[in-house]
């Protein structure tokens, strides 16, 4: 399926006299960019819909002036980037942008990387011809991380566009500015596009879309990243450094499994302290959008580490007597390989509750489908899919990259979506009109997959028992329904302009009663949907849909019937035209799953690596021996896009590394990154040295970081699946192991710009009924937490976060993500 690269239809276009190949249906601007041709553009964002606010991307195509961000390439198109008229328009537009723009470049955070500065210089604006009285606009803080100075804002609407089309929060909108009206004489004297652009600009300014002064969003900071001027800046960064003073360290976000590309931007801490500090995180925002953890959880480095030989020696002793090493997914591939080597050479068990279930699920899936890994990824979904299904994944919390893809498909590919999850989320339906949400009961994930089979499968290919099973849910009945019928009626109407009577045909709808036979799908009812209306809704959703994808989440790995679910997923892939992507739970879960042979349980003397244990290696600086944090070490990480991505050290580290322990224990090469080429090639890795790994995006947006894992596909027979176990449904008070957005682990929690607390998250109503603090009682223990209301949650299920390893939440939940619990109010 998507593994096979489909050859896009290519067309030939001529830009400024040179012929280029471009993908059919691509915007002129993107085609030009992909071929290294520069067309100025301010408001357009790749992967988002054209805003048409700046109008500066004006080009001439086949003799007509068009906006390059909005016009598609056609075979044989002749494009001229600059004509005298266009240059005049562009210069007028830039002059307008400079009207009343404060001359504060000296103090502005954006100075040096400001697109207004750049384009003003590029278009040679050295005088001003336009004027208008300014409006007083006060700087405000929109959230704990966002600082907005409307005085600097040029209302290009990039922030609102990215928030709507990519992030899905739609937290920003344009509101009335209340500024002066444009002088009428400009209409004649100014170039046309410049005038209409100014007219729109003068009327608007950006504000939170909920009508208050504060955004109620996921605080991802992507709006600040895309802001071309200094209007939107992270609160923490305001006036702390100039852009040109910062050194960029290319890296990979350490927290979620999306493998977001980031730059750590470093410079010395202060005049007294010359050690380098991370000031901010930036990204290639045309190709990748970050979540809040990737952008704001950056200062988690282990600063106090020293080469403590005493601790080192006791660590060696601990490893020698250890029976188990307990670790999590906050680990590079190289370190994972070291631990695997320890297992092989010293027989130490490897225990990783975060990854174990995922690894087992992957193995089941591989056995059932013959695919060594899932068949699509988030980038491919955004580029191609127009129908996405998400099962068992708390999109907003678990997998920001998936959430962006799910939303982007709705907004850009005119897509539709099905979202199956027990916890209600008010944000998901806002992604698009064609999003159907099923808040099914806990444990019915199999039924969701059966519904997918029923809706999408090629019935010919399905095994007969599955077909029968699916049919058993269908109930037919006769129903009297009222149907609208449109009739055309002719009527004589007096035309007001001419004063004559004219015959006008009018459309009139009439209601007609009809008796029809209806088949309702019991699966829809079972999953909490409305079977009587679903068929019609689904038909609408399926209109003009060609490319289907399914996202599987962490809930399924921790499901009691995970094996059956993996088989069902494989069956979906084999019988439906659906590609599958799975969310590795947290940072490098995929790498760990591929490299390490994990054991079921821990026993005996345990060495914990960033986890609890009898001897603790910790990158948090709280353990018995210090380890480097993810921003202090080189290495590779595996991402949801099935890539092996290199990450670099941003800040210095003075302690011991795992490799130093390895040298003493079993012998190891000089550096940690010398392990990179030893990564297991039979699991899809390549024998490539770390320093040979590329780390960039191509001009056309192709990800060229690291390398793609080799995947294999073995033809296998259709898996035999079991029926949905309706008895597995959990009833009563249910706790769900789920972190608030932006929190993934102890490291995000350590970062000073992440404010989400370790609390019980519940819907507003539930939180009110619970009071301020509760004890959550499990079969095997309890935990006492403050109650926090999450306005976007609905339903009675409460979320218990697991980002603090020391709280042992994984042990409380055991092999499941949902548990029936008792909630007891605590004063």
């Amino acid at each position: 399926m998507s593994e096979v690269q489909t050859v896009d239809n290519m067309v030939t276009v001529t830009i400024d006299g040179t012929e280029f190949k471009a993908k059919e249906g691509e915007y002129i601007l993107n085609a030009a960019r992909a071929n290294g041709i520069f067309i100025p553009a301010i408001c357009y964002l790749t992967r988002c819909s054209p805003t048409l606010a700046c109008r500066i991307c004006l080009v001439e195509a086949d003799g007509k002036q068009v906006y390059a961000c909005n016009a598609k390439v056609k075979e044989g198109m002749e494009i001229t980037v600059d004509t005298p008229n266009i240059l005049e328009e562009r210069r007028a537009i830039m002059e307008v942008y400079d009207v009343n723009h404060p001359l504060q470049c000296g103090v502005c955070d954006k100075s040096g990387e400001c697109e207004l500065q750049n384009y003003t210089l590029h278009l040679g604006v050295d005088s001003q011809s336009y004027m208008i009285p300014d409006t007083k606009r006060e700087a405000t803080n929109w959230s704990s991380v966002l600082h907005y100075d409307p005085g600097l804002c040029i209302v290009c609407e990039r922030c609102t566009t990215v928030c709507k089309d990519m992030i899905g929060d739609s937290a920003l909108t344009t509101v009335k500015r209340g500024g002066a009206e444009l002088d009428k004489s400009y209409k004649e004297s100014m170039p046309k596009d410049a005038y209409s652009m100014w007219n729109k600009l003068q009327k608007s300014v950006i504000a939170p879309s909920n009508g208050t002064g504060e955004t109620n969003c996921s605080d991802c900071g992507e709006c600040a990243a895309v802001c071309p001027v200094g209007a939107l800046v992270s609160r923490d960064f305001v006036y702390t450094s100039n852009a040109w003073d910062l050194k960029r360290v290319p890296a990979v976000s350490a927290h979620s499994s999306d493998g977001f590309q980031i730059y750590y931007e470093v410079k010395p801490t202060s005049i007294e302290d010359r050690t380098e500090k991370i000031y901010r995180v930036t990204n290639e925002w045309n190709y990748v959008s970050l979540d809040g953890a990737a952008r704001f959880a950056y200062d988690f480095q282990n600063t106090t580490a020293t080469k403590d030989t005493k601790a080192f020696n006791s660590a060696i002793e601990a490893f020698k007597k250890a029976e188990t090493i307990r670790f999590n997914s906050m680990i590079t591939n190289e370190e994972a390989l070291m631990l695997q080597t320890l297992k092989e050479k010293m027989g130490i068990k490897l225990y990783n509750p975060e990854v174990k279930a995922f690894q087992t699920f992957l193995n089941h899936y591989e056995a059932a489908s013959g695919n060594s890994l899932w068949t699509t990824d988030t980038d491919a979904i955004m580029k191609k899919s127009d129908f996405v299904i998400s099962i068992g994944c708390a999109l907003r919390n678990d997998a920001p990259g998936m959430k962006y893809a799910f939303n982007n498909v709705q907004k850009l590919n005119k897509g539709a979506g099905l979202y199956f999850h027990p916890v209600g989320d008010t944000l998901i339906p806002t992604f698009g009109k064609s999003v159907e949400v099923f808040n099914h009961k806990v444990g019915l994930e199999e039924a969701a997959l059966y519904l997918v089979l029923d809706l999408f499968a090629d019935k010919e290919k399905l095994p007969s028992d599955v077909k029968e099973y699916l049919e058993s849910f269908k109930k037919s009945s006769t129903k009297t329904i009222k149907e609208k019928e449109v009739k055309t009626v002719k009527e004589m109407v007096l035309n007001e302009e001419t004063g004559k009577e004219e015959e006008v045909s009018k459309k009139v709808t009439e209601m007609i009663e009809k008796e029809i036979e209806v088949t309702t799908n019991g699966l829809v009812d079972l999953l909490g949907g409305d079977a009587s209306t679903f068929d019609a809704t689904f038909e609408k959703m399926m209109k003009k849909k060609e490319s289907f994808s399914m996202m599987l989440g962490e809930d399924l790995y921790y499901h009691e019937k995970a094996e059956n679910i993996a088989k069902l997923a494989a069956l979906v892939e084999a019988t439906c035209n659906i590609d599958i992507v799975m969310t590795p739970p947290k940072s490098n879960a995929l790498g760990v799953a591929l490299i390490c042979e994990l054991d079921e349980a821990q026993s005996g003397y345990t060495v914990g690596y960033n986890e609890n244990g009898d001897f603790r290696l910790s990158a948090l600086g709280t353990g018995d021996l210090d380890m480097p944090a993810m921003n202090q070490q080189e290495g590779t990480l595996c991402s949801i896009t099935k890539r092996v991505l290199p990450t670099n050290a941003a800040v210095e580290y003075h302690g011991y590394e795992l490799n130093d322990l390895m040298k003493v224990l079993v012998g190891a090469p000089e550096l940690t990154i010398d392990w990179t080429e030893k990564l297991p090639t039979d699991r899809g890795f390549k024998a490539m040295a770390f320093d040979d790994l590329p780390n960039s995006f191509e001009n056309d947006g192709r990800d060229n970081r690291g390398y793609k894992l080799e995947t294999s596909n073995v033809k296998t027979a259709l898996p035999e699946v079991e029926k949905c176990d309706e008895d597995a449904v959990l009833e009563g008070e249910i706790a769900y192991r789920c972190n608030p957005a932006r929190q993934f682990n102890d490291f995000t929690d350590k970062s000073h710009e992440i404010f989400e607390t370790f609390s019980l998250y519940a819907s507003k109503e539930k939180a009110e009924s619970l009071g301020s603090r509760v004890e959550v009682i499990f079969d095997n223990g309890s935990i006492t937490l403050d109650v926090v209301a999450d306005e976007k949650m609905t339903g009675d299920i409460v979320k218990v976060p697991d980002f603090k390893a020391s709280e042992g939440v994984y042990d409380l939940f055991g092999a499941s993500r949902y548990k029936t619990v008792t909630l007891r109010k605590v004063q």
């Binding site: 000296g106 103090v107 001003q128 004027m131 009285p133 702390t240 100039n242």
Partner: protein
């Protein structure tokens, strides 16, 4: 001052006036006679008298030409580039530096460093500023690039110190607030040219 006199480069054709310097003695006897004549003429005392007069003037008439360095210093050209000064705004007394970091960036010996922050009045505040005078080569770029004429070259040209690296902090260079009235507008390297107004394009204003 006109430059005409420098533009005439025909050296040798000007009207020189020859000084009557007499004739050098010829022969050993003549030279001997000249020595004896000069020795007993008393010209020595003429010289001594000149010195004596100057001394008496200095002692009793308070008319002395010696500059009592280091207690006294000669005024120095505004174009001389000595230790930096940080100027204040004359009206408010607030320091002129806005923390734009241009001096830090342009400094070719990398000797300027500053820390800035967002202050309580929503302004950019320079929380610390330092110049390493062990490295500074007094090129004047910082004064030239400064958009606010905040960092300028002052007249303190004594750079000798016990250590090779000498640092100055913001406060050391800043005009003391009680001496604000003595602050001189800088006319050296990078200052506004007298015809600056003529070179500016007018921007229309809606007020």
């Amino acid at each position: 001052m006109g430059l005409e006199q420098f533009k005439n480069r025909n050296v040798g054709t000007q009207n020189y006036t020859m000084v009557d310097a007499g004739h050098s003695p010829k022969g050993v006897l003549c030279q001997f006679k000249q020595v004896v004549k000069r020795t007993f003429k008393g010209e020595l005392f003429v010289g001594l008298w000149v010195t004596m007069k100057a001394m008496l003037k200095a002692l009793f008439a308070n008319d002395m030409h010696t500059v009592k360095y280091p207690f006294e210093k000669l005024p120095i050209s505004p174009r001389y580039r000595a230790i930096h000064d940080m100027l204040r705004l004359l009206e408010s007394g607030h320091y002129r530096c806005i923390g734009c970091g241009l001096c830090e960036k342009i400094c070719i010996s990398n000797c300027i460093t500053m820390d800035t922050r967002y202050d309580e009045n929503q302004r950019k505040e320079v929380s610390e500023y330092t110049i390493n005078f062990g490295r500074c080569i007094f090129c004047g770029y910082c004064a030239e690039v400064c958009p606010e004429l905040a960092i300028v070259h002052g007249s303190r040209y004594e750079n000798a110190s016990e250590q090779r690296a000498g640092f100055s902090l913001f406060e050391d260079m800043l005009t003391p607030i009680d001496k604000l009235n003595l602050q001189q507008e800088y006319s050296g390297f990078g200052s506004v040219s007298p015809n600056a107004d003529d070179n500016i394009k007018q921007t229309p204003l809606a007020y």
